[in-house]
C-alpha cells in the first residue's frame, strides 16, 4: 500500500499559491493595457470554472448552460447601472443577491431532471437566455448592439484597468478560498458522496436534493459574479459573450483542469481563455490546433492537468 501522499502535495500547493500571488500583484502594474486585459479575462474565467467545478467536479452533475448565469449576472448589473442609475458598487451586491435567488429558482426547476435530461435542460437554459438577449427582448437589452456602460468613477477620480484587475483578483481569491473550504468540509464530502453514488449517499443521511441544489446555487452564483465583473472589465456587454461556445469552454476548462481539483481550475482557466489570443495568430488553423491540444490532454492526462501533473511530480525520483 502506498503511504499517505497528502503532505508533500500540500506544501507544494502552498508554495505555488505564494509565488502566484506575488506575480499577480506586482507584474500587472508594469504591463500595458492589452496584457492587463488578458489578466482580467483570465480572472473572470477562473471564477467561471471554479463555479462549474463545484457542480460538475465535486457534485458530479452535468451543466451545459453556465453561460446563462454568466449572461444573467452581466445584464442584471448593466441594467441596474443604466436603468436605475446606480453606482457600480451599489449595483454589485444587489445583482449578486439576485443571481443567488435566480440560481436557487432555476435549480429547483432544473434539478428535477437527472443525467442526460439535466444536460439537455441546462443546454436549453443557455439557449433561452442567449436568445432573450439577442432577439426576444431587443428593445430592453439592445440586441446585438449590446449595452455600453459609463466608465467607473469614484468621486471625480476614474478607476482604471489596474483597479479592475485587483478587484477581480480579490474576488478570484475569495471564490477560491470559499471553494477550498467548502469542498474540504462536511458539505464537500456530501457532494463527493453524491457524485460517487446517489443512493448510498442518501442512505448515509445525506439529503441529495438539498445538496445538489446547494451546488447548483454556488455554480450559478459564481458564474453570475463573473458576469458582473465582466461589465466592470469590458464596459460593454452584448450577446456575443454568451454564446453556447462560452458554456462549452467553461465545461472544457473544468475537464482540462481536472474535475474535482480546485487548483486545476487556476491553471485551466488561463489556458482556455488565453488559447484563442495566442492561436488567433495561426489564423485558419486556430480550431484545428485547439482540437489537437484538447485531444492530447484527454488522451494523456485523462484526469485533467492538475491531477496528472501532481502525479508526475509525486512519482519523480527525489
Amino acid at each position: 500500500m502506498r503511504p499517505s501522499t497528502v503532505r508533500p502535495k500540500f506544501y507544494f500547493e502552498i508554495v505555488a499559491v505564494i509565488v502566484g500571488i506575488v506575480c499577480l500583484i506586482y507584474l500587472p502594474s508594469r504591463l500595458d493595457a492589452y496584457y492587463l486585459h488578458l489578466f482580467q479575462i483570465c480572472g473572470i474565467g477562473v471564477i467561471l470554472v471554479l463555479g462549474l467545478n463545484i457542480f460538475l467536479g465535486h457534485c458530479g452533475q452535468i451543466h451545459f448552460g453556465v453561460g446563462a448565469h454568466y449572461c444573467i449576472g452581466a445584464y442584471l448589473s448593466a441594467l441596474l447601472i443604466l436603468k436605475l442609475g446606480l453606482h457600480f458598487f451599489i449595483a454589485f451586491p444587489i445583482a449578486l443577491l439576485l443571481c443567488v435567488l435566480i440560481s436557487a429558482v432555476l435549480g429547483k426547476i432544473l434539478l428535477k431532471l437527472r443525467e442526460l435530461m439535466l444536460a439537455l435542460g441546462t443546454l436549453t437554459l443557455a439557449f433561452i437566455v442567449y436568445l432573450t438577449v439577442f432577439s426576444v427582448w431587443r428593445a430592453g437589452l439592445g440586441g446585438d448592439d449590446g449595452l455600453s456602460l459609463p466608465s467607473l468613477m469614484l468621486g471625480t477620480h476614474e478607476l482604471g484597468g489596474l483597479f479592475t484587475w485587483y478587484f477581480i483578483l480579490a474576488w478570484v481569491i475569495a471564490c477560491f478560498l470559499l471553494t477550498q473550504y467548502l469542498t474540504e468540509s462536511r458539505i464537500g464530502r456530501a457532494w463527493k458522496a453524491i457524485r460517487e453514488d446517489e443512493s448510498a449517499a442518501e442512505a448515509m443521511g445525506i439529503n441529495v436534493t438539498h445538496y445538489t441544489n446547494l451546488a447548483f446555487i454556488f455554480c450559478g452564483t459564481f458564474a453570475g459574479l463573473a458576469g458582473i465583473l465582466l461589465t466592470l472589465q469590458s464596459r460593454w456587454i452584448g450577446p456575443d459573450y454568451f454564446r453556447i461556445m462560452t458554456s462549452t469552454w467553461v465545461l472544457g476548462g473544468v475537464v482540462i483542469g481536472g474535475m474535482g481539483s480546485n487548483f486545476g481550475m487556476l491553471i485551466a482557466a488561463p489556458i482556455v481563455w488565453l488559447m484563442p489570443e495566442v492561436l488567433v495568430r495561426t489564423r485558419d488553423y486556430e480550431m484545428v490546433i485547439t482540437g489537437v491540444l484538447l485531444f492530447l490532454v484527454l488522451r494523456f492526462g485523462r484526469q485533467g492537468l492538475w491531477p496528472s501533473l501532481s502525479d508526475l511530480i509525486r512519482r519523480a525520483p527525489r
Binding site: 500500500m1 502506498r2 503511504p3 499517505s4 501522499t5 497528502v6 470559499l178 473550504y181 467548502l182 468540509s185 462536511r186 458539505i187 464530502r189 456530501a190 463527493k192 458522496a193 457524485r195 460517487e196 453514488d197 443512493s199 448510498a200 449517499a201 442518501e202 442512505a203 448515509m204 443521511g205 445525506i206 439529503n207 441529495v208 446547494l214
Partner: protein, 253 residues
C-alpha cells in the same frame, strides 16, 4: 427500539410481513433468492415507499420519512452490491457515514472555525478508529476501488457504523468473503452486538447465521413462513423444504 411491523402490497415483493426487533437483538433474515429480504431492508431504510402497513422505530412512525432522515434517527445499512464511494479513500468513505452527526453548514468554515476544527478532528479520529476496528488501517488512505472485494465489504461495514446507528441493517455482508474473512466478520459482528446495537442481518451463509443469531426470520416469496431461535429454525420442516434443504439437516446429523 420498539416493534417494527409492516405489510406491503403492489407487486407483492413483501406480502403482509410483520415482525419486531428487541433492543440489542441480532436477528437474521433468511430465505431463498427473491424472497424479499433485500426489499425488506430497503423498505425499512426508506428506499422504496411502503404500499400498506406501518414501520415504527423507537416508538416513532417512520414509514413516510425520506431515506436520509431515517439514517438521522439511527438506522444505518450496508449494501449487497457494496455501493461504496469508489473514487474516495476508505477513510473518507467512513467519514461520509458520519455525515448526519455533524452540524457544520455553509457559513461554518468562516464564522465557526472552532466548531469545524472540533468536528473535523472528532470525525477523523472516529473514522480512524473504525478503520482500525475492521482491520484496514494499512489501506485507510487508498482509494476504495483499489481494495479487494473482502476489504471493500469491511469498508462498507465501517461506513455504516460511522453513523453511530442503533439499528444496523446488513445486506449479505458475508457473501464473497473467504473462510478467514468470514471468521473475522463473525468476530466483528459479535463485538458490535455486544455494544448493544440492534442488527438485522440478511445472509446466505448458514453457519454464520446459525452461530451468531439470537433469532431468525424466514421469508419465502414475500411472506414470513417461520420465526424462532436458530435451533427451532434448523428443525422446522417448512424451512428445510423451501430453503435449507435436506442435506443441511443430514449434515447437522
Amino acid at each position: 427500539m420498539e416493534a417494527v411491523s409492516k405489510s406491503f402490497g403492489g407487486l407483492t415483493a413483501i406480502n403482509e410481513v410483520g415482525f419486531g426487533l428487541e433492543n440489542g437483538e441480532l436477528v437474521s433474515l433468511i430465505g431463498p433468492n427473491g424472497a424479499g429480504k433485500t426489499t425488506m431492508l430497503n423498505v425499512i431504510m426508506g428506499v422504496y415507499p411502503v404500499d400498506r402497513g406501518k414501520i415504527f422505530f423507537k416508538g416513532q412512525q417512520i414509514e413516510s420519512l425520506p431515506c436520509y432522515a431515517r439514517s438521522g434517527l439511527g438506522i444505518s445499512r450496508t449494501f449487497q452490491l457494496l455501493k461504496l464511494f469508489n473514487g474516495l479513500t476508505a477513510l473518507d468513505n467512513v467519514k461520509i457515514g458520519a455525515h448526519h452527526l455533524m452540524t457544520q453548514g455553509i457559513i461554518s468554515p468562516f464564522f465557526q472555525r472552532t466548531l469545524v476544527k472540533r468536528e473535523e478532528t472528532e470525525v477523523a479520529h472516529r473514522a480512524m478508529e473504525l478503520v482500525h476496528f475492521v482491520g484496514l488501517e494499512n489501506c485507510a488512505n487508498s482509494k476504495v476501488q483499489n481494495l479487494s472485494y473482502g476489504q471493500q465489504k469491511f469498508v462498507g461495514l465501517a461506513r455504516a457504523l460511522a453513523g453511530e446507528p442503533d439499528l444496523l441493517l446488513l445486506d449479505e455482508v458475508g457473501s464473497g468473503l473467504n473462510t478467514y474473512e468470514t471468521d473475522v466478520l463473525k468476530e466483528k459482528l459479535r463485538v458490535i452486538h455486544k455494544k448493544g446495537i440492534t442488527i438485522l442481518l440478511v445472509e446466505h451463509d448458514m453457519h454464520l447465521v446459525m452461530d451468531i443469531s439470537d433469532r431468525i426470520i424466514v421469508l419465502d416469496q414475500g411472506s414470513k413462513i417461520s420465526e424462532g431461535s436458530p435451533r427451532m429454525i434448523s428443525a422446522d420442516p417448512k424451512v428445510i423444504e423451501v430453503y435449507l434443504g435436506k442435506s443441511y439437516e443430514l449434515a447437522k446429523g
